[in-house]
Amino acid sequence: MNIFMQGILWVLEPAHYGGVDGIETRVGQHLLISIGVLAVASIIAIPLGYVIGHTGRGRSLAIGASGAIRALPTLGLLIIIALVVNVGLLAPFIALVVLAIPSILAGAYSGFEAVDRRGIDAARAVGMTELQIVGRVEMPLGLPLLIGGLRTASLQVIATATLADYVGGGGVGHFIFLGLKTNDYPQMLAGSILVILLAILSEVLFSVVQRLVIPAGVTAARPQDVRVRSTRSRAALG
């Protein structure tokens, strides 16, 4: 039986559920960590992105800083922070928030930048205040790109949250570390399979959210991909 099958069987084994190291406990911790990280990163990145996108100022600084932050290895950052704040969830949480911010920031400000300038001009012309423009014009129209940024960030966070258990922060990383250290490759693979399942879940959720949240006017305004059909019913000769 190949190793992949063994990994799947490990996940399905009922003895691995229940208790502090049970699959459902660890998956639950993993989800909570990921959702928490995304929430905090959104609170930081979305308003910042909106300001950058609306005023157009600080864009190059934001791009440069995001690029530099993206290059930081999360495990290294996690350990450095843990040496200051100690073991537990806080260090990985901070490191993961740092990981998630660039994608969400990029989604927020590029969403604003993608809004048609004429629409914004029109909004100014009818007398909307800047805040009204942000709230009623730019935010709804910038939603597709923002959701895209959140989607990317969510995938990165779910995959990297496996590092949380390096310092005892909980999550599915436990199976990967324990499996790796004790040569229990089915367990290690089972951890990876669980992360993959969570990632697929995230993708599905975000595509549903994308459909629900984007205003009808935005989707209607998208150019239809209509193939030009010939008006002739069959090829004419000569």
Partner: protein, 308 residues
Amino acid sequence: MFTARKGRLVALGAVVVGAAIALSGCASSNPISGGSGSGAKTTLVVGSQDYYSNEIVAEIYSQALENGGFTIDRQFKIGQREVYLPELESGKIDVFPEYIGSLDQALNKKAAGGSAADVAKDLASVLPTGLRVLDRAGAADQNSWTVTSAFAKKYELTDIASLKKVTEPILVGGNSELATRPYGPDALKAKYGVTTAGLTAIEDSGGPLTVKALLDNKIQLANIYTASPLIKTDNLVVLKDPDNLFFPDNVAPIVSKKVTTKAADILNRVNAKLSRSDLVSLNSESVTDQKSAPAIAKAWLTKNGLLK
């Protein structure tokens, strides 16, 4: 925005990157493969655990052997015992600095323990054919159950059994594989009736993260190796082990058939000079002075007159 030309460039780039990755996978040889013996100069493969202290000892062995005329292929930081033991047994590694107690317990589930001499004898009898253990050093690097001096004073802790006096929940911290080790939390429960409140996984093998967690009382009990210089600098208390829960862990090289008497003599001479306090100071040079393993090894060998 995404033109056909850009699409083709991206596709071409993806193919190049994919090919590079696939080809590099084909090209890389087994990293544990032993060096080929080229006539008079035999190449010996020296391995080490993914533990800085073990790497220093492996480097000492390597430099001593090179000084004796051997070519050494260093394969350091391989990983935990479960990873390198099969490689040792299959002959892909020739010299490996090991700790007699931990190895004995790993190979012989029914090992009785005892003094260092007892354990070394038992180990010699359970090693797979093709491997032998050379003379052990005075230096030992035990696993241990360690607490802070404040915690020890609070509950008047002296040895492992005295942990029963503790009234607050005892959180254990250490590598995740501690849960499966024969001296782990399960053994504490079975042998001493000490119930622990759980294992917080800290994957740095008793390193700075574990010590910091111990000092800040995030965990109350940790597995710190006895040769760690942090025990002295941070005032930690190693709980005494009168029942030999931890087997004596003297350093001894495990060698394969390829290691001749000449090489074995070199290693035995090194081990004869490696004392317990020596190991602690070697570790201290790495941890506190941040010196590299080769530099530390060279300095120690020169000081002990082992380099011609």
